[in-house]
Amino acid sequence: MPANRFNGFSEYGIGIGLRAPHYNHILTRKPVCDWFEIISENFMIDGGRPLHILDQILEQYKVVQHGVSMYFGSAEKPNREHLRRLRELVKRTRTPWLSDHLCWGSVDGRYTHDLLPMPYTFEAAKITAQKIGEVRDFLEVPVAVENVSSYAEFHVSEMTEWEFLNEVVERADCGILLDVNNIYVSSQNHNFNPFDYINSVPAERVAQIHIAGHSKYRKYILDTHDHPVIDPVWKLYERAIRRVGHTATLLEWDDSIPSFQEVHDEALKANRFLSSTLLAAAV
């Protein structure tokens, strides 16, 4: 499936997260890379080096914004200062779409700076969808919501996570940033079949896909973004690509970050699956 309205009808290939240890390599060597994803909050500032670097990157590369603290699922109104700064950044980057997480993380104006899991209730879906709509209308850019890794479930939940995701995106009429690593992590932590999740996602709404590595502990898995992608996650990616078609894909690597080349090479492994869908489409 080609680009759609949820990613601004943009045809993007394989990107990686723009991270500080790679700035020098990128700016001096100018490596080929389809696109970079930035963490919006790192650039929602008034000036200085981060914005200077970003402007140089924008001159040569395509950039998409990804947020970590909009907290669509928090039961409070969006923070106006946050929205104002985000809109300024959207104008600067001209991001074709913008993503953040299907989670909550603040309450009564206090921030946890974590991606806390949602209770899968109809009330939560309604509140979340309303907030996504408000943010999209304010920013005037397509919004995609990302499924998070989680380590807890709630008694009050009335549906599965994927049913909740579908309920939210249908109500909000927004896109999905499908994180296949997060699906794998949550499937291990909550004992569900990750393919059930992938198979239920509305393919026409998938704006982007995330892949990443994680850390395995004795009783649970943590989404740490500090390892290569493991085979079971690549299998999920393969299934996702078969369902949704050639979709903008991004590798996240946020801790113990290796060289640019190593990260980019890991991301490019996605080509094995993307090229097969192109071939299938051609035939």
């Binding site: 909050e41 929602m44 500032i45 008034d46 000036g47 200085g48 080096r49 981060p50 914005l51 200077h52 603290s69 909009m70 699922g73 928090s74 039961a75 409070e76 923070n79 200062e81 946050h82 909550w104 603040s106 309450v107 009564d108 104006g109 206090r110 921030y111 946890t112 700076h113 974590d114 806390l116 209770p119 209730t121 009330e123 939560a124 509140i127 380590y151 807890a152 479930e153 709630f154 008694h155 009050v156 939940s157 932590n189 909550h190 004992n191 009783k219 649970y220 943590l222």
Partner: protein
């Protein structure tokens, strides 16, 4: 349970300080056992109890916020010692939880909080306050706003009495009791070096750092924390410079600002004009003045 109630209930547990062994407390914020508090809203699974699942988030919260404080205040950590610094941060974050969407602002209230809670720094209170102020000024100078620099044509048609010069928002002015700029530069140098050092070498560095802090004697300094080519620098300035720049920042007209700066000066009368001219020349060359 309604969404807001669930989120308040969970946030209270997540933001509650950990035990000394970095585990979730056995007592919940409402004074009841945490096991029953967690079991009210978190489902257990075949491997983890409700308590253990909630604990993952409780620990992540504190690890993430403490890491951010350690990254932003390495000088204060060197002054207080690692353990005391972490205990102080826990108390600070408990009293002043983040109210910003970005962790960049987590330490914004540290200096004022520390002033009200002198027990954390003890005899080093004045030193600790100076370091906290400098480290926060460093953050502000790093990504503070820069506006177009002042050009001669902007001054056309303005009389001296009415002329108001505006400072770049990123320039931070500090009056400090200790020469903490040297200390902070030393600590940072250590941090860079220890990335590649052995454990024994790191221990030696740590001892050296503690000794450096212990030896630091009060010596009032005035600093401008500013940036050149996107890198932050600490520039020591004269008391008169500090007074003039502070008056300009407060919106005083040029003549009045210079007058305020020279009110208590010890500079001989015949050298004052040259000094003032040199200062303004330096500030202009550094791009500190901006267009109104």
């Amino acid at each position: 349970m309604k969404l807001k109630t669930l989120q308040r209930t969970m946030a209270r547990a997540v933001m509650q300080p950990l035990t000394r062994s970095e585990r979730m407390r056995q007592t919940a914020p409402n004074g009841k056992p945490m096991r029953s508090y967690a079991a009210r809203f978190v489902k257990p699974n075949d491997r983890l109890t409700s308590f253990e699942r909630l604990e993952i988030y409780n620990r992540q919260y504190w690890f993430r916020l403490l890491s951010s404080m350690i990254e932003d205040f390495p000088g204060l950590r060197a002054a207080l010692g690692g353990r005391r610094f972490e205990e102080m941060c826990k108390a600070y974050i408990t009293d002043c939880p983040s109210r910003s969407f970005t962790l960049r602002n987590l330490g914004a209230r540290l200096e004022s909080w520390l002033r009200k809670h002198p027990k954390w720094a003890g005899a080093k209170q004045a030193l600790a306050l100076d370091i906290a102020r400098l480290e926060w000024a460093d953050i502000e100078a790093f990504d503070g706003k820069a506006v177009p620099a002042l050009r001669p044509e902007h001054l056309a048609g303005t009389t001296e009495a009415r002329l108001r010069l505006k400072l770049q928002p990123y320039v931070q002015l500090l009056s400090l009791k200790y020469p903490v700029d040297d200390l902070l530069l030393e600590v940072r140098k250590d941090d860079e070096d220890t990335d590649f050092a052995s454990n024994a070498f790191q221990e030696k560095r740590k001892r050296k750092r503690v000794q450096a802090v212990a030896k630091l004697k009060p010596a009032p300094i005035f600093l401008a924390v500013h940036r050149i080519d996107y890198s932050v620098y600490f520039r020591r300035i004269e008391p008169e410079e500090f007074a003039i720049l502070s008056a300009l920042r407060a919106g005083e007209p040029l003549g009045k600002a210079v007058g305020a700066g020279l009110r208590k000066t010890a500079i001989p009368l015949d050298q004052r004009a040259a000094s003032v001219q040199q200062w303004f020349q330096n500030w202009a060359a550094l791009g500190w003045f901006c267009h109104l």
